[in-house]
């Protein structure tokens, strides 16, 4: 595995273009665009304020930089570096900014969620959408980019508006049967919209594209409800993670629960494999402790670690959450399906150091990864059934059905991996620390810093 040089970034703003050719990073005011394979700087732009949010357009021709404090959005073009565009929301403020799927419209959400303004880069037209809902996930685009679903709230009732992204024509507007809508998500086949209520009530509704209610599912009452939702890439399954530490899988034919995955503190299932990360400290002789050694050879302080298979029944470390606080750290907060639909990775918040991998063909537990620190981020490879995760230390962990491995990031100084994501081809990983990024992969060029 090759590791590239380390580059600076701020605010964890580092994105790969959708076509995979470029890597854009923001360093305070500057936007640096590099070629992904050679890591040479291709373009360099300067914005008016420290950038808070950065996004590529879907055709990889434009980059949007949003500066929320000043209410500004600047758009840069890769083809014509001297083309510029600046959107100033003025005193109305700016809370979020995103591209539309066609890459020619920008949707800005103003402060206090007063309205959503749709700015067009092609024409002078401006559209306003009133009463958008301020929730976890109030806007979602279909995978083919044709439709947009927006959650609205009028007179203490939730509504959903479906827009045609072509010309922002309002296709459907219907009332949602939720008490307090927390999020909505299109299925990957673009025909079903999953809408879920906030954690005070367990309810998930499924609407068809034309606004008909297909089904409603509620597992239990009164206790805290849904924490996370994920569609499988084939749209066959809908995984619902809740505060009762269970994941319920609904099927797309009857929209009923086909199974539920529990996360017990003691694993008895004999078909599952429990990988436990074990750290081994390197032995240091007293004569090796020279200044030279300390500065150059950082492996002195970094600890090697490897995975050991634990015998079943195995105990998973549990951290009991404080019952008096709101948003308790309990329940399934993150779900992710693998790209081939065969695996599901889940994280239970009161077992923060463990990651659970489920086999979707057998609908049973396949592996549990127990780390030495809480898992911060995990992502599936977009092509293969491979999972990369990080726990905030200097290592990157990879799991695949064949086994799992822990890789030390061989960077001078310590590189604490805070988050990571895969390149769209699945051949490289981009690791982000607090202030830097590092690329790793089989074909990454390790260049000296220019």
């Amino acid at each position: 595995m090759n590791f590239s040089e380390v580059f600076k970034q701020s605010n964890q703003l580092c994105k790969v273009s959708p076509d995979g050719k470029y890597l854009a990073t923001c360093v305070q005011y500057r936007l640096v665009v590099r070629d992904f394979n050679s890591l040479q700087i291709v373009h360099l732009y300067t914005c008016l304020d420290p950038v808070m949010h950065m996004e590529w357009s879907s055709d990889s021709l434009f980059i949007l930089c949003a500066m929320y404090k000043r209410g500004l959005v600047q758009v840069w073009s890769l083809e014509q570096p001297d083309w510029h565009c600046k959107i100033d929301e003025g005193s109305i403020g700016l809370v979020s900014s995103r591209w539309s799927p066609d890459g020619r419209h920008i949707l800005n959400t103003t402060e206090f969620n007063l309205r959503v303004t749709v700015w067009s880069l092609c024409t002078k037209a401006v559209s306003y959408i009133k009463y958008p809902k301020a929730c976890q996930k109030g806007v979602d685009f279909t995978a083919d980019g044709r439709y947009m679903a927006l959650a609205e709230r009028r007179e203490c009732k939730d509504y959903i508006s479906v827009f045609v992204c072509d010309d922002w024509h309002l296709l459907r507007h219907f009332e949602s049967e939720t008490q307090d809508l927390a999020g909505l998500e299109w299925s990957p086949n673009c025909c079903v919209l999953a809408v879920w209520d906030n954690c005070l009530e367990y309810k998930i509704l499924l609407y068809s594209l034309d606004g008909r209610l297909l089904s409603s599912y509620s597992a239990y009452e009164w206790s805290l409800g849904i924490k996370s939702v994920a569609w499988s890439p084939s749209s066959q399954f809908l995984a619902v993670g809740s505060y009762d530490e269970k994941v319920r899988i609904l099927n797309h034919i009857t929209w009923k629960k086909i199974t539920e995955f529990e996360h017990p503190a003691t694993i008895i299932n004999t078909k599952a494999v429990v990988f436990k990360e074990v750290e081994k400290r390197p032995v240091v002789g007293s004569e090796d402790l020279s200044i030279h050694q300390l500065t150059v050879d950082n492996s002195l302080f970094s600890t090697q670690s490897k995975y050991e298979i634990t015998q079943l029944p195995a105990q998973v470390p549990v951290i009991k959450p404080d019952p008096d606080r709101a948003n308790p750290k309990i329940g399934i907060s993150a779900l992710a399906f693998s790209a081939d639909n065969r695996f599901l990775a889940t994280k239970n918040d009161n077992m923060p150091q463990s990651l659970w991998v489920w086999d979707m063909q057998r609908l049973s537990l396949l592996a549990v990864l127990e780390q030495t620190a809480p898992v911060r981020c995990f992502v599936w490879d977009p092509r293969r059934p491979r999972l990369a995760l990080c726990t905030g230390n200097t290592k990157v962990y990879l799991w695949s059905p064949a086994g799992c491995v822990s890789v030390n990031v061989p960077v001078e100084g310590s590189f604490q991996v805070q988050s990571l994501f895969w390149h769209c081809s699945g051949s490289s990983l981009v690791l982000l620390s607090k202030e830097h990024i590092c690329l790793c992969g089989a074909s990454v060029a390790s260049f000296c810093l220019q």
Partner: protein
């Protein structure tokens, strides 16, 4: 004791007889010791009581005695003694007979007594036994009564416990319901409150929006009033500054929003939905047909399994059901062709599932029957050969155990020997001996070689000596030769004079030696 009758009783024989009988009756007392005592006393009677008996019969009262004895004997049922002799003397024969009979009576009586005694013993022991068992049973009864009461007590306590638990459960349920009702009421209250706050919030937002719009309009108005070229800070309102408008991503031109457009959008949406449903339906149909095929195969297999070609079925009822199954199977095979034609028909589908269920049930019952038959047969076999097989089995086991033991011992012994060999020996001599025996052969060989070597060495020494001697000799001869040569040369030189002829014959021999020496 009643046996003793005093002589004073003698004058009244009639009284005596009654008293005697009563006394003799008393004599048959149940106490053994007394009996023994009395028997002994009766045995010992002749001697000691002869003196007493002599008082009964004297010379004077013989006839009286005889009469009395006759009376007594008659009362006992024996023939009396007649007094038919002259001068009043008794004939011995009848007296002896009488005596004999009396003895017989006595013996009989004794035997009866003996029997009665044994019977009494038996009865006594029986009685004892019964008393013991009675005691035991009474104890047992007491014991069981106590147990019973204990169990009753336990049961009562458990019942109490159950009651308390049920009450507790009821109270808990009531509490849960109460809490739930509290929660729901609070939830409604919170909902109401949040709705109220939300309304306030939207009002504020509207107001804020209004204010911002007003400010923007005001600024715009102001900007229009002022000079065209004054650049005002239009910071308050939102605007876009773009160097040049970009073309659309798909390259086409934008279209006007018309009713046709809306219809087109609707159409596209429905088309998308329809295509999704169609793909789903197609995949479901495929799955369905595959499953149906599998079921058909299963059905055919089951029919072939249950066909009567198999000879293992013996029982009558089984045959009947099989025939039935076969006939049904034939019908169904005919049906299957029809089924393939009417796949989507509800009836066909039900028919298929029903026939599968029926076949499955038959197969199950068939398997159960086979299982029971097999177990029966196995039982029978086992019963017949049980003793044999067990014995054999046990013998076998014993043999194997012995073998195992032997092998273990053997291995242990081997281990010990090996250990001994490998470990250092405690005895130095034995170690030396052992080491010696390993190297014996080598030592022999070495000795042989040493011998040879020494021999050769000696030979070499000998030769060296010879050579040195020869060399010394050669040295001597050379010296001699040199001296000769020098002498000859001297003579020769001295003969280089005209006086050659005289000295020539003296030099002939050295001349030949010289010529030899000169010709190398």
């Amino acid at each position: 004791m009643g046996d003793w009758w005093t002589p004073t009783m003698m004058p009244d024989p009639s009284l005596d007889t009654k008293e005697l009988s009563s006394i003799s009756g008393i004599s048959m007392s149940p106490s053994r010791q007394n009996l023994h005592h009395s028997l002994h006393s009766t045995m010992a009677l002749p001697k000691t009581s002869y003196s007493v008996l002599s008082a009964f019969c004297t010379e004077e009262n013989i006839s009286q005695c005889i009469a009395y004895i006759n009376q007594e004997v008659c009362s006992l049922g024996l023939t009396g003694v007649s007094l038919e002799s002259k001068s009043g003397s008794l004939s011995a024969v009848p007296v002896l007979n009488l005596l004999y009979e009396v003895l017989q009576l006595q013996r009989r009586a004794q035997r009866a007594l003996h029997e009665l005694e044994t019977q009494q013993l038996k009865n006594g022991s029986d009685l004892e036994h019964l008393q013991h068992s009675n005691c035991r049973l009474k104890d047992q009864l007491e014991h069981t009564r106590r147990d019973n009461s204990g169990l009753h007590e336990g049961e009562r306590q458990l019942q109490l416990k159950i009651k308390t638990l049920q009450n507790w459960l009821k109270s808990e349920k009531e509490e849960v319901q109460k809490l739930q009702s509290i929660i729901s009421s609070r939830a409604t209250q919170y909902n109401h409150d949040t709705k109220r706050k939300e309304r306030e919030c939207t009002k504020l937002k509207e107001r804020l929006n209004q204010l911002l719009m007003d400010k923007r309009d005001k600024k715009l108005c102001e900007s229009f009033q002022m000079s065209y070229f004054c650049i005002l800070c239009l910071h308050l309102c939102s605007a876009i500054e773009i160097s040049n408008h970009v073309g659309r991503s798909d390259g086409k031109r934008g279209l006007w929003k018309t009713g046709k457009m809306e219809a087109r959008h609707e159409g596209e949406m429905y088309r998308a939905l329809l295509s999704d449903y169609e793909t789903r339906q197609r995949s479901l149909m495929m799955e369905n047909s595959e499953l149906k095929k599998v079921l058909q195969h299963m059905k055919k297999d089951m029919i072939t399994i249950l066909s009567p070609k198999k000879p293992c079925i013996k029982t009558e009822p089984a045959n009947d059901s099989l025939e039935q199954a076969v006939s049904e199977g034939e019908e169904e095979i005919g049906d299957s062709s029809r089924e393939t034609l009417e796949q989507s028909c509800e009836q066909a589908r039900e028919q298929l599932t029903n026939s599968i269920r029926l076949q499955w049930r038959k197969l199950k019952s068939h398997m159960e029957r086979l299982d029971s038959q097999a177990s029966l047969v196995a039982c029978q076999e086992r019963e017949g050969e049980e003793m044999m097989s067990r014995k054999e089995h046990e013998e076998e086991m014993q043999r194997m155990r012995m073998e195992l033991q032997q092998c273990k011992e053997f291995i242990h012994m081997q281990q010990q020997l090996l250990q001994q060999q490998l470990s250092s020996p405690c005895d130095e001599e034995t170690a030396a001996l052992l080491n010696d025996c390993y190297t014996l052969e080598e030592k022999e060989r070495l000795k042989e070689e040493w011998r040879l070597f020494n021999e050769q060495k000696r030979n070499f020494e000998q030769e060296r000596k010879n050579f040195t001697e020869a060399a010394i000799r050669l040295g001597h001869e050379r010296k001699a030769f040199e001296e000769d040569r020098a002498a000859w040369l001297k003579t020769q030189f001295l003969n280089m004079t005209p006086f050659v002829d005289r000295k020539r014959p003296a030099l002939s021999e050295p001349h030949s030696a010289l010529s030899v020496g000169e010709c190398p």
